[in-house]
């Protein structure tokens, strides 16, 4: 299965620039030649106050309050680099809820 970067597009994340993040992330991933990674919009991860939210799946890494300047680190992670710890701030029970949902194929 190919890997996906799910970018939340609900009201709060969108108001904080998630559409621009989606476009920028696509560019960076293409520039790195990561052909197995797809950037996809996602309805909502339920962490509106922490947005914009990006979830890498099936890695199950959740990055919150993402800014354009964080995207290089996220792209590095996708290319085999380290987990971006500073953006990993979401409560584990919410992560579990959303990861379980993604495991059922809802995306």
């Amino acid at each position: 299965m190919s890997r996906v970067c799910l970018v939340c597009q609900n009201i709060d994340c969108k108001s904080r620039g998630s559409e621009q993040l989606t476009a920028e992330l696509e560019k960076r991933i293409a520039a790195k030649g990561l052909t197995d990674v797809e950037v996809k919009p996602y309805m909502c991860f339920g962490a509106c106050q922490e947005g914009p939210n990006i979830v890498l799946y099936p890695e199950k890494s959740w990055y919150a309050k993402v800014k354009v300047e964080d995207l290089d680190d996220i792209t590095d992670h996708l290319a085999g680099g380290p987990h971006v710890q500073r953006l990993d701030t979401i409560d584990s029970s919410l992560k579990e809820l959303i990861y379980q949902l993604l495991d059922t194929g809802v995306m």
């Binding site: 009201i11 809820l97 379980q100 495991d103 059922t104 194929g105």
Partner: protein, 419 residues
């Protein structure tokens, strides 16, 4: 069966002013206008009238709160948005008994001390809007509204407002937004409209059927009214039956009538001599009941004890050869479409649920996806400005509990078990 709103069966054709007066029309107003407005509230409270828009809130209490809330002017809003799919009771009342509705509206406005009433009516209801406009003209020339109603000190202006026909536009605070010229988006509550309503002033928003009950109660008294129905749900309620029965229509029944009577005697049973698989007493947002609950009484407490709700009385039947998963796809899609989109949690919940049920329909996700429904609903519980976010839950959770075989059939074969 004798009724309150339809004393001789569902009214056919429009009742004009003279016909209405010939059966005691506007006598309740003539009597009430000589006494303080509190007397109307007292009569309504003693009768135990509860709102017919779905929530069943005591009408007398709502009016008392509005009357006592600080701020002038006060407003009365008749809510005839009627956006629940399959509901047609308000339309029938507005079309055929416009003066009964209007007299109730004027009495309500008088009771809370409102100087302006808005009649918010579904814009698709051309006939109803014409009927009520004609009634307004007739009643104004007779002195029932306008300046110095029946030569009293009470003056009331009334204005018709066409209502957008999307689901949330019938939510009481969305109604206020539309009247104020804005989008039909519900407001955060509290504050409730009784204290901060239209233009920030105390406002009572009442369903059409609720207001239609007012004049008969005021004229004939609480004891007469309480002869109908049950102790906690006095009076009658109008139920809407649709194409899934042999005789679709609206039926006024005393609260406490068995559900079976409505379906079999009034509706002539489910169409096509099939067996009933499930009953939704308040479509599309109530829990499904299995067939063995068909003798549940049609009142708020009995329906709650049976695990469902009475809502605004749109009763939907699911036949034995229908699949509950397919029904849920329609319901979940409806709420995802009708969510106004201003509350992130509601968008998340309604869209996720719709996506999930479609996965099930397509045979994807296995048992784990079934376990996720409850978790998504629990996560969003209590969020959002209005009640729409709570509406997909009862149908989904009851379906999972009552009809697991339908879900299993989809998940194991990817096909619908229905023929």
């Amino acid at each position: 069966m004798e009724g309150i709103l339809f004393p001789h069966g569902v009214a056919e054709g429009r009742e004009g002013l003279e016909q209405y007066r010939a059966r005691g029309g506007y006598e309740a107003l003539a009597k009430s206008i000589k006494a303080p407005g509190e007397e109307v509230i007292k009569a309504i409270s003693e009768a135990g009238l509860r709102g017919r828009g779905g929530a069943g809130f005591p009408t007398g209490k709502k009016w008392q709160f509005t009357r006592e809330a600080p701020g002038e002017p006060r407003y009365l809003v008749l809510n005839g948005g009627e956006d629940e799919p399959g509901s047609k009771k308000d339309r029938v009342l507005l079309e055929n008994l416009p003066h009964l509705v209007l007299e109730g509206t004027i009495l309500a406005a008088y009771s809370i001390g409102a100087s302006k009433a808005y009649l918010y009516i579904n814009a698709l209801y051309d006939v109803a809007i014409k009927s009520i406009n004609d009634a307004l003209a007739e009643a104004k020339s007779a002195g029932y509204w306008g300046s110095n109603v029946l030569d009293s000190d009470f003056s009331l202006d009334i204005q018709v407002v066409p209502a957008p026909h999307n689901y949330v536009a019938g939510e009481d605070t969305a109604v206020l937004e539309v009247i104020e010229g804005k989008k039909p988006w519900p407001r955060q509550k509290p504050p409730f409209p009784v204290t901060v309503g239209l233009f920030g002033k105390p406002t009572a928003v009442n369903n059409v059927e609720t207001l239609a009950n007012v004049a008969p109660i005021v004229l004939k008294g609480a004891d007469w009214y309480r002869k109908f129905g049950t102790g906690e749900s006095p009076g009658t309620m109008i139920f809407s039956l649709n194409d899934d029965v042999n005789r679709p229509g609206v039926y006024e029944l005393p609260f406490g009538t068995p559900l079976r009577y409505l379906i079999e005697e009034c509706g002539g049973g489910i169409k096509g001599s099939k067996k009933i698989k499930a009953i939704m007493p308040a479509a599309p947002s109530s829990a499904f009941l299995p067939l063995d609950k068909i003798d549940t009484l049609l009142d708020h407490n009995s329906m709650r004890d049976a695990g469902s709700a009475l809502g605004c009385g749109v009763v939907k039947l699911v036949s034995e050869d229908s699949c509950i998963v397919e029904e849920l796809v329609k319901i979940a899609d409806f709420f995802a479409t009708e969510s106004c989109g201003q509350c992130p949690a509601c968008r998340m919940e309604t869209n996720t649920l719709a996506m999930m049920i479609k996965k099930v329909q397509a045979g994807q996700g296995g048992q784990p996806i079934l376990d996720q429904f409850g978790k998504i609903l629990a996560f969003n519980k209590g969020k959002g400005f209005c009640n729409l976010i709570a509406m997909p839950g009862p149908p989904i959770e009851s379906a999972l509990k009552l009809f697991p075989a339908d879900f299993e059939a989809h998940l194991s074969t990817g096909k619908c078990p229905a023929p």
